[in-house]
């Protein structure tokens, strides 16, 4: 069993960074040459994408988009039998409330939980879904609706990891309460239930979205995640609590790639601005032993500037760190000194990471070239070079994957299984034993983790909370006995009893449940969503309810003597704001609101109503209406190209969504001058064949100029 372990590991690539999260595999006897036309090609499939597949238990899982008509693009998770290359199943997921367009969808790789074989998928809409190996859905979480996750045009989406019982990832968000400040947050979810375990905010700022998948290491007895932040820094976070351990700020842009660790030596790379010099890019290393808090750049063992690996993660090979410059130049750097030992130009653009296995280096360049290289102490030998289609090459953005004695190469169009045919290299379908639970710590409690960390409740609903105790190093001690915990609520209506049983109030509320034990306090977040119907005329309101996402972006003042909600002109990054305010599992309801706007510097803000993930948009500048199932996917949108909406005039918008028995959804919108009676006919309509079957209600406001809202209603379909 022990002897078999490395071989079993060599058959897997369960996460984006590989079985050891370092871009390497212990696989042997990998091919030195192949050709797209058949040499050493086990099979190929006409599906590809931006992200690499993962391989586990004789299955390959590819997260990609659906083929064909872009008006029906979805993300899909495809399970492939690695022996035959046959598709076993696929699960399609519609995207929503996202600025990411179709051609950048399916950015992340899935992750397989090695204990259960369950597959975790994180979409460009920031929806997190767990599937069982048979393709049935285990649980899902809608981060936009629950946490105000923001997904931007660039598409960057983190590939999650599964470590112990936790699913870990990060996202940009502007949520409610202590998540109200826009920024990047790290999340840990319970892999069995999807419940939130912790949320961590170690970053003082946010520059850009990123997709640095975390690695896990134990340094000075602290089991920690190590991840590149959107604040230009690498971070160490306690694995089980999310508490910051250390931070190494090296850049003025987000870190997009993942670091590599060997012992206590952390190898990092980035391709953007450094601190205090005009030279961009860095390959460097820091010894993390004995380091906590802010680590200055001067404490690094070495750093070599001028090589620009923004996208590709570095990989270790012998005495070298191998990195890839954005211009598709592969370079080797001495692990002890940082000296650049050799370089070789492989193309012009690079996104995917290099992978090392069997003494070989595997690299696909954006120009559609795939290389099998043999790196040495003095240089690099090209064993094989193939262009995926002459003329207009297939673009390669994904990292190659090594498993089953093969290399799985993903272009934007195809998947290639390079290596022996079925059965020649594999020895079974192993699912290794789960890692043993860490020994409970005997140290004093230093951190209280209230679980679940977030609860979304109906009025009157009850929720049991527990208090988990951790020591200063983030080691688990025990679950606190109920009698030892002092429970309380903060800014939250409702009551909590001595056993941690919380009972929600009859109305809407949001705030915190707190647990204090031995002078240490932890908290969880609770939102209670009022029951339908809602009717809000904003009288006497001075602030948006805390149970709205982006609640800080709304103002309340009188317009023509009537109280109204105003999304004021906002020349900041958060100009386009979604206020989401209900449960992601609601369906078959109607929303209505009055809207008006004014021209400022030739510009008029746009307004929208959100219902079950559909948006009815009224455009101020363009004087038109759109009904959007997925904002960025123009081809799904239906529109009324001319619709007059004069300055300083109230119009009423109404959006109704109905799930129909045939599996489609009927979406109907209506807009008319508020002074007029409601017209009988709908203004705009769509029957959606790739429907959103549930989602939270909300309001959208684009503050390019002042836009105003009044008389907001949400009610069950009549």
């Amino acid at each position: 069993m022990l002897l078999a372990a490395p071989m079993l590991l060599a058959q897997q690539w369960p996460e984006s960074r590989g079985p050891k999260r370092d871009g390497t595999s212990d696989a042997r006897n990998l091919p030195s040459s192949w050709s797209p036309s058949g040499e050493n090609l086990a099979w190929t499939l006409p599906m590809g994408g931006r992200s690499a597949p993962v391989v586990h238990g004789g299955r390959l899982y590819l997260q990609t988009t659906t083929d064909g008509d872009v008006s029906e693009t979805q993300e899909r998770l495809v399970a492939v039998d690695v022996d035959s290359g046959r598709v076993l199943w696929e699960r399609r997921v519609s995207q929503y409330l996202s600025d990411v367009p179709q051609h950048r969808a399916a950015w992340a790789s899935p992750a397989v939980d090695r204990e259960t074989g369950n597959i975790i998928m994180f979409t460009i809409s920031a929806e997190l879904i767990a599937f069982r190996p048979d393709g049935t859905e285990l649980w899902k979480r809608s981060l936009p609706e629950e946490y105000g996750a923001i997904t931007t045009h660039g598409g960057r989406t983190t590939s999650p990891i599964v470590e112990g019982n936790l699913v870990i990832l990060n996202t940009l968000l502007q949520g409610w309460g202590d998540l109200g400040r826009p920024g990047n947050r790290y999340f840990a979810f319970d892999k069995r239930t999807g419940q939130t375990v912790w949320i961590s905010a170690p970053q003082p700022r946010h520059y850009d979205t990123n997709y640095s998948s975390p690695i896990v290491a134990t340094i000075d007895g602290i089991q920690q995640l190590i991840v590149g932040g959107t604040d230009g820094a690498f971070h160490g976070l306690q694995l089980l609590t999310g508490k910051p351990v250390w931070r190494l700020e090296v850049s003025k842009r987000a870190i997009l790639n993942s670091p590599v660790i060997a012992g206590t030596m952390l190898y990092i790379a980035h391709g953007e601005e450094n601190l205090g010099t005009t030279e961009m890019g860095m390959v460097g290393t820091v010894d993390l032993a004995g380091k906590t808090g802010e680590i200055p750049v001067s404490a690094m063992a070495w750093k070599t500037l001028g090589f620009l690996p923004t996208f590709a993660s570095p990989v270790l090979h012998g005495e070298h760190v191998i990195a890839m410059d954005n211009g598709a130049i592969v370079g080797a750097f001495d692990r002890a000194t940082g000296a650049q030992v050799w370089t070789r130009t492989l193309g012009t653009l690079q996104k995917g990471s290099p992978v090392v296995a069997d003494g070989k280096l595997f690299v696909g360049t954006e120009n559609g070239k795939f290389f099998i290289l043999r790196p040495s102490a003095t240089g690099v030998e090209v064993l094989d070079e193939d262009t995926l289609r002459e003329g207009e090459p297939e673009v390669i953005l994904a990292t190659p994957v090594v498993a089953d004695g093969r290399i799985y190469l993903t272009s934007m169009e195809r998947l290639y299984a390079i290596g022996p045919k079925a059965g020649t290299a594999r020895t079974g379908d192993p699912i290794p034993m789960p890692p043993p639970p860490p020994q409970p710590s005997a140290a004093a409690p230093a951190h209280v983790q209230v679980f679940p960390y977030e609860a979304l409740l109906d009025p009157g609903q009850r929720q049991a909370f527990t208090a988990r105790l951790f020591d200063a190093q983030g080691n688990y001690i025990r679950e606190a006995a109920a009698a030892d915990v002092q429970w309380s609520v903060d800014q939250l209506a409702g009551t909590i009893d001595a056993t941690g049983q919380y009972t929600a109030p009859a109305q809407g509320s949001a705030g915190y449940v707190k647990a204090t034990i031995g002078g240490v306090t932890g908290q969880a977040r609770v939102r209670v969503i009022p029951a339908l119907p809602w009717s809000m005329d904003f009288t006497d309101m001075t602030a948006a309810p805390m149970w709205w996402t982006s609640n800080l972006k709304a103002q309340f003042r009188e317009i023509d003597g009537n109280p109204a909600m105003v999304r004021p002109r906002d020349d900041t990054v958060g100009r386009r704001t979604k206020f989401l305010m209900g449960r992601p599992d609601w369906s078959d309801y109607t929303v209505e609101v009055d809207v008006r706007g004014i021209t400022m510097r030739r510009q008029r803000g746009d307004v929208g109503l959100i219902n079950q993930r559909y948006v009815l948009m009224l455009f101020g500048n363009n004087q038109k209406i759109e009904l959007q199932p997925w904002q960025a996917a123009n081809e799904m949108t239906v529109s009324v190209d001319k619709f007059e909406w004069p300055d300083n005039t109230w119009y009423r918008m109404k959006l109704r969504v109905e799930n129909r028995a045939d599996g489609t959804t009927l979406v109907q919108g209506k807009i008319w001058p508020s002074a007029d009676p409601e017209p009988a006919a709908w203004t705009i309509e769509k029957i959606d064949r790739i429907p959103h079957r549930a989602g939270a209600p909300g309001i959208y406001g684009d503050g390019i100029s002042d836009v105003m809202f009044d008389n907001f209603k949400v009610y069950r379909n009549q």
């Binding site: 850009d208 003025k252 005009t278 030279e279 961009m280 211009g327 653009l349 207009e392 673009v395 900041t572």
Partner: protein, 481 residues
């Protein structure tokens, strides 16, 4: 010299600027704008430029000046001053720290830093003002006045001497900073406030001139959703009175059909006896306007009708070049979008209306996406593309003469001086070719960091900008390193 003299006095200069082809002096004394002259043809009349230099030993290097970490605004040289757009990573004034757009002025003779104008980033973020891109506008210098577009979407007129001449030129005289290293603003025009422009990612236009008018692209484009043009009524191009800074005419032809942003910069030429402003716009069309009135004369679609954004339909980032009655332009995309198919055209701009068919002299579709600008000399057109290929074509027929693979992305343009062609790439290599109908590589010189800029010449020197340094290169010079 008072401000009025500065602004309207340079009549003699104007004659040169508007009739470049016949003067045979372009790039000999000065290089006062992007492309050296309003026709934007990347050809210099200078001679005697070195074909070897070494940034490490200092051989044939006259001086080097430190810029920020990223520089995209090509240098211009006029009146003994070199002006260049960059970012603020080489902070020259600790009181003006943080990410900013910066216009730097250096003394041409020795590279001494003279003054800088810095601009804080817009609070609206990358949708309008991408981090660390600095100022990507290449200034236009007329007499003693430089015109450029800042990262804040404003057109600025500044005194090229700054306050070194001991005067605060106006009408704008209320500058908060009036030290020797600070800028002397003459006027400014805020395109975001005045005409509602919503520049996508960065306003970068390099102004061009005809008599008393200057022309710039507003950069109007999509918002961060990339599906919405938030300001469809804002113009794509404006003409300003260069003395007063007042708006003279504007045109918003692309409307809400802008594919992405608008980063192409306008060109002026006399075509068929008509003074025209020519502008590649965000809907992938190139348009010609009567220069004084803004009357639209013609428009040409650079994309095949069956092309699809963003896979095969392109925007225009390159600058049009006018030679005789012909306009040369290639289309392409934001470098962030990677590589793809491109199209290069020779257009007969004497035609009127939609001249997509009638004005197409030739179409070369073997080029990849390109953001580079043409160099045309002796009937040969040199056109680099973003996939790393330099294409040399017969300018009259469009027939390919030769192609060279640089093995690195090209943002810059080929530059013809004397009988040589100089071209820099993202890997920091400058390749020197023999100008001619057959390919002959004379040499390759590494500059130490990416070359996004195009060479310029002035007063016997050649200037090359890397991402973070400006080099003055001159035969026989030796910089102590």
């Amino acid at each position: 010299m008072n401000t009025t003299t500065k602004l309207i006095g340079a009549v003699a200069v104007m004659a040169v600027l508007t009739t470049p082809a016949s003067s045979a002096t372009k790039g000999v004394p000065d290089w006062p704008m992007w492309g050296g002259s309003p026709d934007r043809n990347m050809v210099s009349d200078a001679t005697g430029m070195p074909t070897t230099w070494d940034v490490k030993t200092g051989e044939n290097i006259k001086w080097v000046a430190e810029l920020g970490s990223q520089s995209y605004g090509n240098p211009v040289v006029a009146g003994g001053v070199v002006l260049i757009g960059t970012n603020n990573e080489a902070v020259r004034d600790p009181k003006q720290a943080g990410d900013r757009g910066v216009l730097m002025a250096f003394r041409e003779s020795n590279g001494e830093f003279l003054w800088q104008a810095t601009f804080e980033k817009l609070t609206s973020g990358r949708a309008n003002d991408w981090p660390f891109q600095g100022i990507a506008s290449s200034p236009l210098v007329i007499g003693e006045v430089a015109y450029f577009v800042s990262n804040r979407g404003k057109v600025h007129a500044v005194d090229i001497r700054g306050f070194h001449d001991g005067q605060n030129d106006g009408p704008k005289t209320d500058e908060a900073l009036t030290g020797t290293h600070d800028p002397d603003y003459i006027w400014e025009f805020d395109m975001m406030e005045e005409v509602g422009a919503f520049p996508h990612n960065l306003a970068n236009s390099s102004p061009v001139v005809l008599d008393n008018l200057i022309y710039v692209s507003t950069g109007n484009g999509q918002d961060e959703s990339h599906v919405n043009i938030p300001s469809p009524k804002a113009p794509a191009i404006i003409a300003l009175d260069r003395v007063t800074g007042e708006l003279v005419w504007e045109d918003a032809s692309p409307g809400d059909r802008i594919l992405h942003g608008q980063w192409s910069t306008p060109t002026v030429g006399t075509i068929g006896g008509v003074l025209q402003v020519i502008h590649g716009q965000g809907d992938g069309w190139i348009r010609g306007y009567e220069a004084r009135t803004g009357e639209k004369l013609w428009e040409f679609d650079t994309n095949p009708k069956d092309s699809v954004w963003p896979k095969t339909r392109n925007e225009i980032i390159a600058t049009p070049v006018v030679v005789g009655d012909v306009v040369y332009i290639a289309n392409g995309q934001d470098p962030e979008h990677g590589e793809g198919v491109g199209h290069l055209y020779a257009i007969d701009a004497t035609k009127r209306g939609d001249i997509t068919e009638s004005g197409r002299l030739w179409h070369y579709n073997k080029i990849r996406r390109s953001i580079s600008t043409a160099a045309v000399k002796d009937g040969i057109i040199y056109y680099p593309d973003f996939s790393g290929f330099l294409h040399a074509l017969d300018a009259k027929s469009g027939e390919v003469l030769w192609v060279h693979d640089m093995f690195a992305a090209m943002w810059s343009s080929a530059f013809v001086v004397d009988d040589k062609v100089y071209l820099g790439d993202e890997d920091g290599d400058i390749t020197i070719f023999q100008h001619g109908r057959e390919k002959k590589v004379l040499g390759e010189i590494n500059m130490g960091s990416s070359v996004y800029s195009t060479a310029v010449t002035a007063n016997g020197a050649m200037f090359f900008m890397t991402r973070n340094n400006l080099f003055a290169i001159q035969q026989g010079a030796k910089l102590a390193r």
